[in-house]
């Protein structure tokens, strides 16, 4: 019972058992014997002692990651099994969770030597489809459209590849997506009662009840792109282009170079590239006709 007192929240996400001192918006509650990751609330170091990679808001090395968000809080991720969060007084649970479930867990996956892709994953017509793409390409909206058309969610925005079986799969992440009001309207989904990701943004946490917990090997990786032409273009990738595109769409790849994780990433991305068909799906940037894309994917399966 000691653990329950110290860690009031327990979740399962990305194939990991997580004990937490803070509530995490979006994660699925679970009970288990041993935890893989502990989330603590407490003070976070000012700087890392050994900075190998850094950006404006983060510092990292092979086993540590530090993120500072002025209005939300600071996050310190280490050894692939611990996250310390120091929230600001004004930040909501939803706000604190946004940088925990995405960015912090993305960094933790690298520390665990796993392969996180910047992708959403859906089981559609019994096929596991990974939809990768840059921010704004429409991964989440397309995933939501596929779910509406009968699919089930595996992961939104960060898809962690599971190499434990014969074929690569995706670890079920958690049954929530972060989606913009414009997309909710487009998909005819009611906004009432949805929790906003940030107070100022019209972007919401949407709980998804059709969530897949079962190991399902990846059938296809789609790279969602946009162009300024009116047609939807579908092009299959081969050879080294497959590796290159997986590298480009690796979540938080910037934290990897010059560390021991670089070689590990190379091996995993190659393994995935060899075993999985990858197709470029380029849509017109002027309009996002999800029905047309869902139809094209159905025909391409």
């Amino acid at each position: 019972m000691f653990a329950k007192k110290k860690y009031p929240y327990s979740y399962r996400a990305y194939g990991l058992n997580i004990l937490s001192q803070l509530p995490v918006t979006g994660f699925e509650p679970a009970s288990f014997e041993t935890a893989d990751v502990h989330i603590h609330k407490g003070p976070v170091p000012e700087n890392l002692g050994n900075i190998i990679n850094q950006g404006v808001l983060y510092q990292s090395n092979e086993s540590e990651f530090l993120l500072r968000m002025e209005n939300v809080g600071a996050y310190y991720v280490r050894n692939g099994n611990e996250i310390i969060v120091q929230p600001t007084n004004t930040a909501s649970t939803g706000e604190v969770s946004a940088f925990l479930t995405g960015t912090s867990f993305g960094a933790l996956m690298h520390q665990k030597k796993l392969l996180p892709l910047h992708a959403s994953t859906v089981i559609f017509k019994e096929k596991c489809l990974v939809i990768a793409g840059i921010s704004g390409a429409g991964k989440t909206t397309l995933a939501a459209a596929l779910i509406k058309a009968g699919g089930t969610l595996v992961a939104d925005d960060v898809s962690v590849i599971d190499f434990s079986g014969e074929k690569p799969a995706v670890h079920p992440a958690f049954p929530t997506i972060k989606i913009w009001e414009d997309s909710l309207k487009h998909l005819d989904i009611n906004i009432t009662d949805l929790e906003p990701v940030r107070g100022e943004l019209k972007k919401y946490y949407l709980p998804v009840n059709k969530f897949n917990h079962i190991y399902t090997a990846i059938s296809h990786i789609y790279i969602l792109n946009t162009h300024n032409r009116p047609e939807l273009e579908i092009k299959s990738l081969q050879g080294v282009d497959k590796f290159r595109i997986l590298k480009k769409h690796t979540y938080f790849f910037r934290g990897i170079p010059k560390t021991g994780l670089e070689k590990n990433h190379f091996i995993l991305a190659n393994k995935l590239a060899v075993k999985t068909p990858i197709t470029l799906l380029t849509r017109p940037n002027r309009e996002f006709n999800t029905e047309k894309i869902v139809k094209a994917i159905s025909e391409n399966l």
Partner: protein, 284 residues
């Protein structure tokens, strides 16, 4: 390069010759490539690129508020300067701005120079209306609207970050008068009349030494007919989806064939002072 002053801002109101100059500079710096590829310019991104921001900040801008993004942008550009081993020619359509956090959007300590491109607003109105796929009257209202910005909806994710444009005159004022940065103004019309002279002047200002032959070759590669031909053959990724082409006519004075008297008056009434200052005829 020890000096952090690595960024040359290629700043302008839209449709004023910015892309033309970028093609020229790309051709000039990459003579090893047989011909400049308009779909592969260096750098490929605009300052308001969401990818550039996400990459250098380390968190997705999709989870940040507009004010957080604005306040972080100068740090993103500083990071970019810090990591770059060469001069960055960075296209930008935002106005120059002082931010609530006391920073300036385009910091002086990383700025090598500003090339500010100006074009007669009467021609800008025609070209910009094609770009926006909007009627001329609406385009003029945009050019006269101090609150106009690209990508400002907060209910969806734009492919670029919000860019405040102010009015056509306000845009110029922000960079040329208020920024305090080393600015060279280049008129589209002068690039058109004598590209060799205009581009050579810009290189001298930036402090980039190239011989006459290299400049001539780059000018030739960046000629309007070459750009238009490339776009016809392969398309251009920076064309707006609603317009027929990015490189449309590339001429000076097309407004005479397009604008009504009332439309000309609306522009001259709003921007006459700035037009006169940069040598554009207002008695039309």
């Amino acid at each position: 390069m020890d000096d952090l002053k690595k960024i040359v801002w290629l700043a302008s109101y839209p449709k004023s010759g910015n892309t033309w100059f970028r093609v020229f500079i790309t051709a000039l710096l990459h003579p090893e490539e047989p011909s400049v590829d308009i779909n592969n310019m260096h750098p490929a991104t605009i300052a308001s690129s969401r990818q550039l921001f996400d990459e250098l900040a380390g968190v997705p801008s999709a989870d940040l508020t507009p004010s957080e993004i604005r306040n972080l942008r100068p740090f993103v550009y500083r990071r970019n300067a810090l990591e770059s081993e060469e001069i960055i020619y960075q296209k930008v359509h935002d106005v120059y701005a002082l931010l609530p956090n006391g920073q300036t959007l385009f910091p002086a300590d990383i700025t090598r120079a500003v090339m500010y491109f100006i074009r007669n607003p009467l021609d800008v109105a025609v070209s910009f209306s094609h770009h926006l796929s909007a009627p001329i009257d609406k385009t003029i209202s945009i050019m006269n609207n101090p609150d106009y910005a690209f990508c400002q909806r907060i209910d969806r994710l734009h492919n670029q970050l919000q860019q405040n444009l102010f009015t056509w005159s306000g845009h110029i004022k922000s960079w040329v008068d208020d920024s305090g940065l080393p600015v060279m103004v280049i008129r589209y019309e002068d690039m058109h009349k004598d590209p060799l002279k205009a581009f050579s002047g810009a290189l001298a200002f930036i402090g980039l030494k190239k011989d006459q032959k290299e400049i001539e070759t780059a000018v030739e590669q960046a000629s309007f007919s070459n750009l238009k031909k490339q776009e016809e053959e392969k398309g251009f990724s920076e064309k707006s989806p609603g317009s027929d082409s990015f490189f449309r006519k590339g001429i000076v004075g097309d407004w005479k064939n397009v604008l009504s008297k009332e439309q000309v008056k609306r522009i001259v009434d709003a921007h006459g002072d700035m037009m006169k200052r940069f040598g554009y005829d207002v008695d039309v």
